[in-house]
């Protein structure tokens, strides 16, 4: 192996799958080999069986749908608020000076710690779930978007001005397109974090969703179902990552040149 030497696409995929196989193999050895008690960790086959019964008998597909809708709903709300604020902060220094200290502070407030308060304010309905995800993502989004917009080469801005650009068109035609691929990447990252918040939100005071199923399974000591739930989250994350990357490559072909 040489540092940074690229590898071919087929071997990249093969390596990627190989680790998954290794992971399942170790898990199988630990469970089928009797090294770990069934009570603590279900074996892969039990997990698949539990997953099948969850989907077929217990309507788990509905829970998955609920969770996805909550994540997307809360995340989209956060984006609607964060995108204009982040762009304004990145482009205009007085706005940055005004908002940055507070947003930096708010970013460290743990979204899960708000759950008791949010239940008090918004009840245990959907609004509360969306708010947890909103609080968890909006401040991160604002700060990261502001940095992406603000990090532009000064000479590109100078060039735009010498070509007759106005202040607004420097923002619209230079700062924004320059930051767009980074912003798309930020969306991908923060959406991943939103998944952690949604499960926490569903663990407390919820009657549907993947997190709710996991709490129920805990009461029944059904580790197979818990693991299946976790793996479903992982798979959804994998698919959404893949979609994001594909869309980004289509939208910003110049960024990967």
């Amino acid at each position: 192996m040489k540092p940074l030497q690229p590898i071919s696409a087929p071997s990249r995929i093969a390596y990627g799958i190989a680790f998954f196989a290794l992971f399942v193999a170790l898990w199988s050895v630990a469970t089928f080999g009797g090294y770990v008690q069934k009570l603590f960790l279900a074996d892969p086959l039990t997990m698949v069986g539990e997953g099948y019964s969850l989907l077929v008998q217990y309507g788990f597909a509905f829970d998955i749908g609920m969770t996805i809708w909550r994540v997307l709903g809360g995340f989209v709300l956060a984006v609607i608020v964060a995108l204009p604020l982040g762009i304004m902060m990145g482009a205009y220094k007085p706005i940055e000076a005004f908002l940055e200290p507070f947003v930096s502070f708010a970013r460290y407030l743990p979204a899960s710690a708000f759950i008791p308060l949010l239940i008090l304010w918004a009840g245990i309905g959907e609004a509360q779930k969306l708010l947890v995800i909103f609080i968890g993502s909006v401040f991160q989004l604002i700060l990261m978007i502001a940095v992406a917009v603000g990090s532009i080469r000064r000479d590109l801005v100078d060039a735009a001005y010498t070509l007759g650009a106005t202040d607004t068109s420097v923002v619209r035609r230079v700062l924004l397109p320059n930051a767009a691929p980074d912003i798309a990447e930020i969306f991908r990252l923060v959406l991943g974090w939103a998944w952690t918040y949604v499960i926490v939100a569903e663990l407390i005071g919820s009657s549907s969703g993947i997190g709710h199923m996991i709490t129920d399974s805990q009461a029944l000591l059904n580790t197979g179902q818990i693991i299946f739930g976790i793996i479903v989250i992982g798979l959804i994350g994998l698919v959404s990552d893949f979609l994001f990357k594909a869309v980004n490559q289509r939208l910003f072909p110049w960024a990967k040149l």
């Binding site: 100078d158 060039a159 010498t162 070509l163 007759g164």
Partner: protein, 259 residues
């Protein structure tokens, strides 16, 4: 007729963290005639780029004023095209879109914009690269696009800040010929900053030599070489004599600045 008049323009950079303010440019005056091609030659750090950036409106002068066609310059604008030493094409736009950037700012309709952009791409020899992104181009091609982008705006004056400084010698000399060819055809007013003596003589009709920091104009020499100038002119006796004279001028300045 004077196109651009630089009237006692000087620049002092404010003190940084308790240090002394630095004077980059002594009050400097220079008159640029219509269709002149003036090269500003000086050792690095002599304030020649600062002067050009002030004319371009990218820096403010600490004193003096600049008149373009009789009206004072404040801030950057489309009437002064600027080409930078660094590659400043917008990476998210194709060559044609880059060239048309200023036209879109002016509100020119899309079809006309593309026509003008294609025309300029053609004139700088990039007609088969209009749909390429800047990262797919060589350094020389990027600078050609940058020149086309500045000229597509039809500026009153073209300002070039060591545009070929980052290119290899072969490319640089081809670029000089291309720029000279454009100037011979279009008769634009051009101010060209460089530290390369040969380049200053080859493209310029007048070479303005600047002293070491703080910069001031030390000599103003007309280049009496005929047009069109083939690259072979660089070995002619007149060229060599002029080069020797300028080498002396610049040497004295480099020594003075303590290098």
């Amino acid at each position: 007729m004077s196109k651009l008049s630089i009237d006692n323009v000087g620049k002092i950079f404010p003190a940084q963290r308790g240090g002394q303010p630095t004077r980059a440019l002594m009050p400097t005056s220079l008159t640029v005639g219509d269709n002149d091609f003036i090269t500003i030659l000086g050792p690095s750090g002599c304030g020649k780029s600062t002067l050009l950036r002030i004319i371009g409106g990218l820096e403010t002068a600490s004193e003096g004023r600049i008149l373009l066609d009789g009206s004072a310059v404040s801030g950057p604008g489309a009437d002064r095209g600027f080409v930078f030493q660094s590659y400043t094409l917008f990476p998210w736009l194709t060559v044609a879109q880059n060239i048309a950037f200023g036209l879109r700012e002016k509100g020119v309709a899309e079809r006309e914009r593309l026509d003008i952009a294609r025309n300029w791409a053609d004139r700088v020899g990039l007609s088969s690269f209009v749909d390429h992104y800047p990262k797919q181009l060589s350094g020389g091609m990027q600078q050609r696009t940058a020149i086309a982008r500045a000229l597509a705006n039809d500026p009153k004056i073209l300002l070039l800040d060591e545009p070929f400084g980052a290119l290899d010698n072969q490319t640089r000399s081809l670029m000089q010929e291309m720029l000279l060819g454009i100037w011979e055809r279009e008769r634009k007013t051009v101010l060209f900053v460089t530290h390369d003596i040969e380049e200053a003589i080859f493209v310029g009709s007048r070479v303005v030599v600047m002293s070491a920091r703080p910069g001031r104009i030390k000599a103003d020499i007309a280049v009496e070489l005929p047009h069109p100038r083939p690259y072979t002119i660089k070995t002619s006796p007149e060229f060599v004599a002029l080069k020797e004279r300028l080498v002396e001028e610049i040497r004295a300045e480099v020594m003075a600045s303590g290098h």
